[in-house]
């Protein structure tokens, strides 16, 4: 391929965007890139719905008294915030948008293994999303996103079955995406692309897919049991009929803990790509980072009862799970060390994606370390169900996963849209997000440690907590602005942004060896890979002179 020359005139070449026009060419597409964009629009929509609920929550918490909404309504707000953000934003986000778009490109394939199943995944997601929307508009659910029995099975009169069905269907969307990725990565790599030459983004998505495949079915069948119990009073989770509510928690968390790794692993994959590119270096300890992804996927299945330390499980089981929870932190730490080592003596460029990566490194580390606080049984008893937990998981989910998503969107935006986003605004937005995030969630660590319980709409018996809550709400407003900015300038760039060359970052990876945006079938010729991953030395080497060294 010729060296990319920055051009100001868009060449009217066929790309996946202009290959066919018309609504049906999008709604019936099997092109993984178009499906990725369909997901991008849908999950952005649900992100703002979830964000709207967050806004109402934070508004309520501005004052100690429960004066904005009633208790029942507040219960519905935090429940819907959680369900929408987790099942309809975070879990699909990177895999369904960036993964769908990039996995075939990064491995030199023309599409995923099962393009029609990919489209089906999106439709299942939409059906589930519409069902969830309908559920929310007609009363919603008030049990918390964790819908514990027997509240969810016996006592609540909100729309559990409908919400459960929506989550069930979205689960199948997730399973099918994972299935597609696993088969694609095994079967459709370009010649020469061995496992050790794969981008770490691919390793991360492979590990994520394993979790999606093996974990989601368990929560799916649990939802079936909850629905059956609700309809027929079977007694499976009802203590009055001989059932055990803790069994629900075991089955629920068996999926929901690995689910958090579904949410963070793809983001870690993005970070690997971004850090390598903007340090102009191969990721330090490539194999450690690759295998740590698999280790996180496997170990993630061993720790679920750390959500149940105070639920009534046996102390001996709690000990085992606490120990295992410390173990699961190790592979994540290995990644952080290796990313940091990559930065050392790298040639750092502070473009927007890299700013998000820096944000990720700091915030994920805080979130991860506070997880260790929670894994300690003694501390857990005091901070469980307080804002400490809320802050912990938001540091990882928002400070980690969402930063990775935004960083990835920026990094690959030229490839996806064929346009460059405005760099100045992007750096500003990254800064606003970082400041807003910390202002929102750091006070919550303090609140939790001091004893403010989560899921309470009224804290008037602890009015001293107001100042920190006010800070948190102020931060949330700033954070909201930070999220709106990219929406605006990405849309702006689609019309007015500078056309992007094939490889604006001079990055390593097969996706950069094809046009921006790519043609429908990705590559003009099937690539044959003869180089190692992250070959930044070659990419940055000065152009060869005419002389050919003797002996080659």
């Amino acid at each position: 391929m010729s060296m990319p020359i920055a051009t100001t005139q868009p060449v009217e070449r066929e790309t996946y965007l202009n290959a066919k026009y018309g609504v049906w060419s999008w709604l019936l597409t099997t092109d993984h890139k178009r499906i990725a964009l369909l997901y991008l629009i849908s999950i952005t929509f649900f992100f703002f719905i979830g964000g709207f609920f967050a806004l109402l929550i934070r508004l309520e918490l501005l004052t100690p008294a429960g004066d904005l909404v009633q208790a029942d309504t507040y219960n519905k707000l935090f429940t819907m915030h959680g369900m929408v953000m987790i099942f309809f934003f975070l879990i699909p986000s990177i895999p369904a948008v960036l993964g769908n778009f990039l996995v075939p490109l990064m491995i030199g394939a023309k599409d995923l293994a099962f393009p029609r199943i990919n489209l089906l995944s999106w439709y299942l997601y939409i059906i589930a999303g519409l069902m969830m929307l309908h559920c929310m508009l007609t009363g919603g659910v008030d049990t918390g996103w964790t819908f514990y029995a027997p509240l969810s099975t016996n006592f609540t009169n909100t729309k559990i079955v409908e919400a459960g069905l929506a989550i069930f269907i979205s689960g199948f969307s997730s399973i099918l995406t994972g299935l597609n990725f696993v088969v694609t990565i095994h079967r459709m790599r370009a010649p020469g692309l061995t496992w050790s030459r794969l981008p770490l983004f691919i390793w991360a998505h492979y590990a994520t897919s394993i979790i999606q495949l093996l974990g989601t079915p368990v929560v799916a069948v649990t939802i079936v049991l909850v629905a059956a119990e609700r309809a027929l009073h079977l007694g499976i989770f009802d203590p009055k009929l001989g059932g055990d509510p803790v069994l629900f928690q075991h089955l629920f968390w068996f999926y929901s803990h690995p689910a958090v790794y579904i949410m963070i692993l793809p983001s870690m994959g993005v970070i690997s790509e971004v850090i390598a590119c903007f340090s102009r270096k191969r990721i330090f300890g490539y194999h450690f980072v690759a295998f740590s992804s698999i280790a996180i996927a496997v170990f993630g299945f061993l720790v679920w009862a750390h959500h149940m330390f105070v639920a009534g499980i046996s102390v001996y089981a709690a000990l085992v799970f606490s120990f295992l929870s410390y173990a699961v932190a190790v592979p994540s730490a290995i990644k952080v060390f290796n990313w940091t080592a990559t930065l050392y003596k790298g040639s750092i460029h502070y473009d927007a994606p890299m700013l998000y990566a820096f944000g990720f490194l700091g915030l994920f580390s805080v979130g991860g370390l506070t997880g260790l606080f929670l894994a300690a049984l003694g501390i857990n008893v005091h901070v469980t169900d307080t804002y400490f937990v809320v802050a912990h998981f938001h540091y990882i989910m928002v400070g980690g996963a969402l930063m990775g998503y935004l960083g990835g969107l920026h990094f690959w935006w030229p490839k996806i849209s064929g346009r460059l986003y405005p760099e100045g605004w992007a750096r500003l937005a990254a800064l606003v997000v970082f400041i807003g995030f910390n202002l929102t969630f750091f006070p919550q660590f303090l609140l939790g440690y001091m004893g403010m319980p989560r899921r309470y709409y009224d804290y008037s018996h602890m009015p001293e907590f107001q100042i920190l809550n006010v800070l948190s709400t102020a931060g949330a407003t700033v954070l909201g602005v930070g999220y709106l900015l990219p929406m605006v300038y990405f849309l702006w760039s689609m019309r007015y942004g500078k056309p992007a060359p094939d490889n604006p970052w001079n990055a390593a990876g097969l996706e950069w060896k094809t046009a921006s945006p790519p043609p429908t079938f990705n590559f003009d010729e099937e690539p044959v890979v003869t180089w190692e991953a992250y070959n930044y030395e070659e990419l940055d080497a000065p152009p060869r002179t005419q002389e050919v060294p003797v002996g080659r």
């Binding site: 095994h186 394993i210 093996l214 368990v218 803790v246 069994l247 075991h250 068996f254 299945f301 061993l302 679920w304 009862a305 499980i313 046996s314 102390v315 001996y316 089981a317 085992v320 799970f321």
Partner: protein, 86 residues
């Protein structure tokens, strides 16, 4: 060869059925599940062609599925089995 496996499966079913009526105490469950596992293994290895699978990957997928199932059952039981000790 398929007929041989088929016959073994039917014999296994018959033995399981008959053995259930004999008083073996806790071994009833072990016998029944043991025979069931043998039958399942035969179906997987020979009817589903895992034995002659050209790739290790097929076997790995089967082993992984069984492993994670046992993880679910085993670690959950680690709670229930040790609750009386608390």
């Amino acid at each position: 060869m398929y007929f041989g496996i088929w016959a073994a499966l039917l014999v296994g079913t018959f033995v399981t059925y008959k053995a259930a009526f004999i008083e073996l105490g806790p071994f009833n469950a072990a016998v029944a599940l043991g025979i069931a596992t043998i039958k399942a293994t035969l179906v997987a290895l020979f009817f589903m062609h895992v034995w002659h699978a050209s790739e290790k990957l097929t076997k790995l997928v089967v082993i992984a599925a069984v492993f994670f199932l046992l993880l679910l059952l085993g670690l959950t039981m680690s709670d229930y089995a040790t609750r009386p000790w608390s």
